[in-house]
């Protein structure tokens, strides 16, 4: 197995502790940092996302895989400095006003970060104003995600998306929405660019937007 494949396996199985050794060995063997990132890490998390979608692995296993990836990315950072192709963009995400549920939103943030975005997580119960402020404060933000679990907070998604469009920010960002009661229909109705049913799909969409 090549070093990059070993790194990939380590991430898939959440082996954070051996990451340092593997990354050092890979670099020593002459593997390019950007290849280690793309083939060894981002690809691995993509596999993890698909396994989770297929119910082959469970939430805690996704969390430890992401933890191993984070460790790996930290180790690669000094070697990637200046390599712009490493960063796909900036993703601002939050659960909308009136809603405190965040597990799905957190998994989406994790997967999109693993796909190569920098992530700003605004948390839960995020007002329209807070979303808009955050987008304006981050001109390099090119993707915004809104999440809701309750049918009673779907109107908050609608309101926030409408406000983002009205503020003329659609030139800057694409909007992706999700959550248990959300459908493609709803996303189309409110003017969002995409709907994702799960974290893996969200990451795939995020990658496709900048491809």
């Amino acid at each position: 197995m090549s070093k990059i494949q070993e790194i990939s396996k380590a991430i898939e199985f959440g082996k954070k502790k051996i990451m340092k050794g593997l990354v050092e060995e890979a670099l020593a063997e002459g593997c390019k940092p950007i290849d280690i990132l793309n083939q060894g890490m981002i690809e691995a998390m993509s596999v993890v996302g698909e396994k989770f979608k297929a119910n082959e692995i469970y939430v805690p296993e996704m969390l430890v895989a992401a933890r191993a990836m984070k460790e790996g990315v930290e180790l690669l950072k000094p070697h990637l400095a200046g390599d712009k192709s490493a960063v796909l963009g900036k993703f601002i995400v939050g659960t909308v006003e009136g809603d405190l549920h965040d597990i799905g939103k957190n998994l989406v943030a994790m997967m999109i970060e693993s796909a190569g975005y920098v992530v700003i997580d605004l948390g839960v119960d995020v007002s329209t104003e807070k979303f808009i402020e955050a987008i304006k404060a981050n001109p390099d933000c090119n993707l915004v995600g809104l999440s809701a679990l309750l049918t009673t907070t779907m109107p908050s998604i609608k309101k926030s998306v409408a406000a983002i469009i009205e503020a003329g920010l659609k030139n800057q960002v694409k909007i992706i929405v999700g959550g248990a009661p959300i459908t493609q229909e709803f996303a189309d109705l409110i003017g969002a660019d995409a709907f994702a049913a799960d974290a893996a799909s969200a990451a795939a969409i995020a990658k496709a937007f900048v491809a």
Binding site: Y58, V59, L100, D125, T151, T152
Partner: protein, 269 residues
């Protein structure tokens, strides 16, 4: 153990379908089975868009009251919907729920103050779910202050210290248990409640986690639970745990429940 039957909830896909299709028989049957299994309250949650919520609640409550006298537990994230549903109920029941978020207490407490309606109170506020026992107890004390303002006796409150998912938070049960102990210590007549299914979200073989949680929660003082009363295994755990904790003199309730066919293996046909 106060049992609140959880099945009439539109966030459950099969129930959402029945609500969409206005399947009266399905609703009546569900209410009847939960009542026969010994539910003390029947939770009713429409889980539809706000503009349809009250008419849907009315449709559900009317159907339930056709087949059983078990009091209703009115369930909505909107305090206005909760309040609108109260007059639709034939007898006093339970409001699900208030918390320190937004205006929930301002809307609900004044309406139930001079009645016998009981109320579930969640230990969260507009900042979200507090991430420590101390912070949850702070929210608890704020809720109790408001309850005192309206003369709502602690025995009318069912405090839900909030159960997070074990898959994303290893302290999910231990935090819950510490809160429950402390709450019962401060107000011995108050009830401690919880929805069950959160704890096992994201893990395989959820039933095992749910059952173990039930036993540990009863040990921590939980005396009210939002569950599927027709789940014999879970109900069995409740009776067994209570007997083991000296809360069932001579194990007579346990034996009764078994004899009535509510718990234990189903008699062979």
């Amino acid at each position: 153990m106060i049992i609140i039957g959880e099945k009439i909830n539109g966030s459950i896909p099969s129930m959402a379908k029945a609500i969409r299709e206005r399947d009266e028989a399905f609703i009546r049957d569900c209410a009847k089975r939960q009542a026969e299994a010994g539910a003390n309250y029947l939770d009713v949650c429409a889980s539809v868009e706000v503009e349809f919520e009250i008419e849907t609640m009315k449709w559900l409550i009317d159907l339930i009251q056709e087949v059983t006298d078990v009091p209703i537990c009115v369930d909505s994230p909107s305090p206005y919907s909760c309040v609108a549903a109260l007059p639709l109920c034939n007898r006093t029941g339970l409001v699900n729920s208030v918390s320190m978020e937004g205006e929930k207490i301002d809307v609900i407490f004044p309406v139930i103050a001079d009645t016998k309606w009981e109320c579930v109170a969640l230990l969260c506020d507009s900042k979200g779910i507090p991430n420590s026992v101390e912070k949850r107890l702070e929210v608890f004390e704020n809720i109790m202050k408001r309850a005192k303002e309206f003369n709502i006796d602690p025995s009318r409150l069912h405090i839900d210290p909030l159960v997070e998912t074990l898959s994303t938070n290893e302290t999910a049960l231990t935090t819950f248990a510490e809160c429950a102990w402390e709450i019962k210590k401060r107000y011995p007549t108050i009830h401690v409640t919880s929805g069950l299914s959160n704890i096992s979200f994201g893990l395989p073989a959820r039933k095992l986690i749910n059952q173990a949680f039930m036993v540990l929660a009863v040990n921590a003082g939980m005396d009210s639970a939002i569950i599927d009363p027709t789940n014999r295994d879970l109900l069995g755990m409740i009776y067994a745990a209570k007997a083991l904790l000296e809360k069932d003199e001579y194990c007579l309730e346990y034996i009764s429940a078994f004899r009535e066919g509510l718990i234990g293996p189903l008699p062979k046909a």
